[in-house]
């Protein structure tokens, strides 16, 4: 078994009496990718926010590259180190960039912070943005181009784990395919591991090796992505799978509320 870059153990998050995440454990091996599949309210985004330190876990541990990150970082050095371990690309490409900052400035700010060896030009090239686009402000770029910028900015920290929080969900189909191909290329080139938070099973299939399925804050099924999607064992996973439109699919009324 290869080195684990991210290990989450017995993670729990409560908001008052509401248990948003309950007893969640998984590990991501170096260079492999994991999908966290679920619908709204499943707790999948809360798990992501705890991993990157935007939420504090009520209980449980999170370790990245062997270092604990379950409690908030106090010192600036520790914050930057964590930033260089795990990064995130959010769903909304419109609010994830500072509207007053050019693309090149946004990327170079992060490069300076981490003292990285890469240049703005290299990162733009990696995500398929040209020189002219790098001098533009976000409002002059399309949603797909902005998402490429968000990916480049995350990669500027040279993270070992990149969390993709529904990162292609807001994109048009033709653009989504471009970004999915780009993500595959980046993974081949850098060896970064992805944690994909998604409700879209086809995207999950395309991008990940393993998956966990969450419902009501708990993991209900886990396994290699192909196997879980082709032969779902749990009733909820079967329902999810059966709800996806495809050839010959007809919507069927299920229960009355």
């Amino acid at each position: 078994m290869s080195e684990a870059v991210l290990v989450v153990t017995d993670l729990r998050k409560e908001y008052g009496t509401l248990v948003a995440v309950d007893d969640v454990s998984f590990r991501v091996e170096s260079g492999r990718s994991l999908a966290i599949v679920g619908e709204s309210g499943s707790g999948k985004t809360t798990v992501a926010r705890m991993i990157i330190g935007l939420e504090r876990a009520t209980a449980g541990t999170i370790r990245a590259l062997g270092r604990d990150r379950s409690t908030p970082a106090r010192a600036g050095g520790e914050r930057r180190r964590r930033g260089a371990e795990v990064q995130i690309v959010f769903q909304d490409p419109y609010s994830s960039l500072d509207p007053r900052q050019t693309i090149a400035d946004a990327i170079s700010e992060v490069l300076r912070l981490h003292g990285g060896q890469q240049t703005v030009g290299e990162l733009c090239e990696l995500v398929g943005l040209d020189e002219r686009q790098s001098r533009a402000l976000p409002r002059n770029l399309s949603g797909g181009q902005r998402q490429r910028v968000a990916i480049a900015r995350a990669l500027a920290a040279e993270p070992r784990v990149l969390i993709l929080d529904e990162s292609v969900a807001a994109l048009d189909v033709s653009i989504q395919a471009q970004v999915l191909n780009l993500l595959a290329d980046i993974r081949a080139e850098t060896g970064v591991s992805y944690v994909l938070i998604s409700h879209d099973l086809a995207v999950v299939r395309q991008l990940t090796d393993d998956c966990v399925v969450m419902q009501h804050g708990r993991i209900v099924e886990r396994g290699p992505t192909g196997q879980v999607l082709d032969h779902p064992a749990e009733a909820y996973t079967q329902l999810l799978r059966a709800s996806v439109p495809g050839p010959g699919w007809k919507p069927v009324r299920r229960v009355r509320v």
Partner: protein, 275 residues
């Protein structure tokens, strides 16, 4: 044709800006371009109307009114500038801190500001004047204290909205320090509203300072100041010589209207620009 900082404020915005710039120039050099010594008293000329190069005549102590208006521009404008500078700086810091930390800190700051908000500026000015003695500095201090809650409350809303933007979260995850995120990203993105609110407050501050000086709690005679001139002109008004109060009052009204109109337009623009 449009001045970059005034884009979207229309012709009126540009006219207002021109009036403000003119007022500031007068404030800076007024004492030197005054045709006569603003403090030279000649009781023989008391309430004498315009003649020769005394374009608007004399006040009750025979001082040249135009020269006093030009020389008085400085304190009349400096006061509001100081009030706005202090209130906007402290208000922005409180608003951004409350939005950033949220939770208990936000609750306490908001509650404290609400309490302070309940006291009118004039009341605070009377208290400050009683403690430190009446002076421009006391009046400025009092109004700064009175205006800070107002600006902090308005900016807190925008700061909260900006705080919730994902680019802020992305920078936090990168490990950028909170102060750096606020100074380099959050504040520049609400700067339009800060400037606009500052302009609106400037107008209020000018009127309130004039009122405080009128009450004798701000700028002291014989210092030339528009507010003081309105006050000193009272006797003239009763005797049928209203020119001093009118001229000083008109100066105040013109500057306040210009600043307020521009402030409103800048606020509109900042809110239009917000997503």
């Amino acid at each position: 044709m449009s001045v970059p900082g005034l884009r979207g404020t229309g012709l009126l915005g540009h006219v207002c800006a021109a009036v403000i710039v003119l007022a500031l120039i007068v404030g800076a050099v007024g004492a030197w371009i005054a045709p006569h010594d603003p403090d030279f008293v000649d009781l023989d000329l008391a309430y004498v109307g315009p003649f020769a190069d005394h374009l608007i005549g004399f006040d009750g102590r025979g001082r040249d009114l135009l020269s006093r208006l030009l020389a008085g521009a400085r304190t009349s404008l400096l006061g509001p500038v100081a009030v706005v500078a202090v209130a906007v700086t402290v208000g922005t810091l409180l608003a951004v801190a409350a939005a950033w930390f949220g939770g208990m800190f936000d609750t306490i700051v908001s509650a404290a500001l609400d309490v302070l908000f309940a006291f009118p500026g004039i009341l605070i000015a009377i208290v400050v004047a009683a403690v430190f003695g009446p002076s421009l500095r006391s009046a400025v201090l009092a109004l700064a204290v009175a205006y800070t809650p107002y600006i902090a409350r308005v900016l807190r809303g925008s700061a909260l909205r900006e705080r919730a933007q994902l680019y802020i979260a992305a920078l936090e995850v990168q490990g950028l320090a909170a102060v750096a995120i606020c100074v380099r990203h959050l504040i520049p993105n609400i700067l339009g509203l800060i400037v606009a609110q500052g302009a609106v407050l400037f107008g209020y501050a000018m009127v309130d300072l004039a009122a405080i000086s009128f009450l004798g709690l701000g700028v002291q005679t014989p210092q030339a100041d528009w507010g003081v001139m309105v006050s000193e002109g009272r006797n003239g008004v009763l005797q049928g010589y209203p020119l001093e109060s009118l001229a000083a009052g008109l100066c105040i009204v013109v500057v306040v209207v210009a600043v307020n109109l521009l402030g409103e337009r800048l606020t509109d623009r900042a809110q239009r620009g917000a997503r």
